[in-house]
């Protein structure tokens, strides 16, 4: 009897946590305000054509769904808001890169019922100061989370993508 009760309580808690963890944690504009503290900052765009597109295809393993991506820049610092499908729904992630190094990664919206642990700091802190190798990989491996494999994979891809886009945006500038 005790075991049955324990089973139902655990199940109910799991459902409660999953539904609580789902949702929009921060709006895109709030994230940009928080990063730059500059209400006048305007978005810029990076066209995904030629080498940029080829690099994005290499990282994503498929053609990007859009032909351009918007970003915000102040000196060497850029911010990107990108989306990737975890299992079946998109995860929205804000990424800040300063002088080629990942400074901050934040999950802005999580829509799946599983894998929400990727929004926690213990996981996201691993991305801090990561750079991109010439093979378009992260310079240090990221530890996964049991039960959140697809979400972890999506976040790794997005961090590589943002680092790559950052390089391309700064290159375009010069």
């Amino acid at each position: 009897m005790k075991n049955i009760l324990r089973f139902f309580i655990t199940g109910a808690l799991f459902v409660l946590i999953s539904s609580y963890a789902k949702g929009v944690y921060q709006s895109n504009s709030d994230f940009i305000d928080e990063v730059f503290h500059d209400p006048t900052i305007k978005p810029q765009m990076l066209w995904l054509t030629g080498d940029v597109k080829a690099g994005a295809v290499k990282i994503l393993g498929e053609k990007p769904r859009q032909l351009r991506v918007r970003y915000w820049q102040k000196q060497q610092k850029t911010a990107w808001i990108l989306e990737a499908i975890g299992k079946s729904k998109p995860i929205t992630v804000g990424l800040v890169i300063d002088a080629g190094k990942l400074q901050r990664v934040k999950v802005l919206a999580f829509r799946e019922t599983r894998g929400w642990e990727v929004k926690e700091d213990f996981f996201l802190d691993q991305f801090s100061q990561r750079t991109l190798t010439p093979e378009l990989q992260l310079d240090k491996s990221i530890d996964g989370i049991t039960g959140a494999t697809l979400s972890v994979r999506a976040l790794k891809k997005l961090s590589r993508l943002a680092l790559f886009y950052h390089q391309q945006a700064l290159f375009k500038e010069h």
């Binding site: 765009m45 859009q66 032909l67 351009r68 918007r70 929205t92």
Partner: protein, 265 residues
């Protein structure tokens, strides 16, 4: 007692079981065939890709209550057909969005196509490739109630109306600025040509084509749900008959083999 009489007596004892076995077999024959075939198919659903095969038969679609949604809009946008059926928006045969609210309109600019939905906007190349989906997250004013092409300012400027306010895009459609409609002279709504009934027909099929997978039908045949609760009851009955068949079959075999052994002794 003669051998013949003994045999008759034995058969007489087993007769109810034999009859039960025979009738159970006959009654459940068709259902068992359906159960077996659908069971085999479901065991190999991945290899057979049942999930990726869709039913196009209108009768079957009707049976499942799948009917075309009321929300239907058919426009000509330049050389393209711009169509909304339900929440799906198509540019010719290409699915642009599957979560669209009302399709407000589309404008063919010099370099781009701009498609306004109530809850988003789509910026496309003239080849129909998606440049960017503009959403409220990117400060797009929503709900969009009308879309205009501005002739008074830059040619590429688009004006959208939301909450009785007018917003003009920058050259790259990245930001939207509130303007007074007086500043826009003249502002014209792009009137789009409607599609003919013959042109509409393929889109009905396109919408219906991926609504009902073969896997769902096979699964419902297997469980009997294709006939609703009655079908489930029938399949439960078939399963019960299978149970009776196996028990009566075993009993007949057991009794006969016991007699045979006794005879040999």
């Amino acid at each position: 007692m003669s051998k013949r009489k003994h045999k008759h007596k034995n058969k007489g004892r087993l007769l109810p079981f034999i009859k039960l076995h025979r009738w159970s077999g006959l009654v459940s024959l068709i259902l068992v065939i359906i159960l077996s075939i659908t069971g085999i198919l479901l065991n190999h659903t991945h290899e057979l890709q049942l999930k990726n095969h869709y039913i196009k038969n209108t009768l079957l679609l009707n049976w499942y209550g799948i009917r075309l949604p009321e929300q239907q809009t058919f426009f000509k946008l330049g050389a393209y057909n711009l169509v909304q059926v339900g929440h799906k928006v198509y540019l010719d045969n290409k699915l642009l969005a599957s979560d669209a609210l009302t399709l407000i309109g589309g404008i063919e600019m010099e370099d781009y196509l701009f498609i306004a939905l109530e809850n988003a906007a789509l910026l496309l190349t003239l080849d129909g490739e998606l440049i960017e989906k503009l959403t409220p997250d990117q400060d797009l004013p929503v709900p969009i109630t009308s879309v205009y092409k501005s002739h008074s300012q830059d040619n590429s400027a688009i004006v959208i109306q939301s909450h009785n306010k007018y917003f003009i895009s920058d050259d790259d459609y990245l930001t939207w600025t509130n303007i007074k409609p007086d500043n826009l002279k003249p502002v014209t709504i792009k009137r789009l040509k409607r599609l003919s009934e013959t042109e509409k027909e393929p889109y009905y099929q396109l919408w219906l084509d991926n609504k009902l997978s073969l896997e769902t039908v096979v699964l419902d045949l297997h469980s009997g749900r294709i006939l609703g609760q009655f079908g489930v009851f029938i399949m439960d009955l078939a399963a019960s008959f299978l149970l009776v068949l196996s028990i009566s079959g075993f009993w007949i075999w057991f009794k006969r083999s016991r007699k045979r052994i006794r005879h040999r002794l």
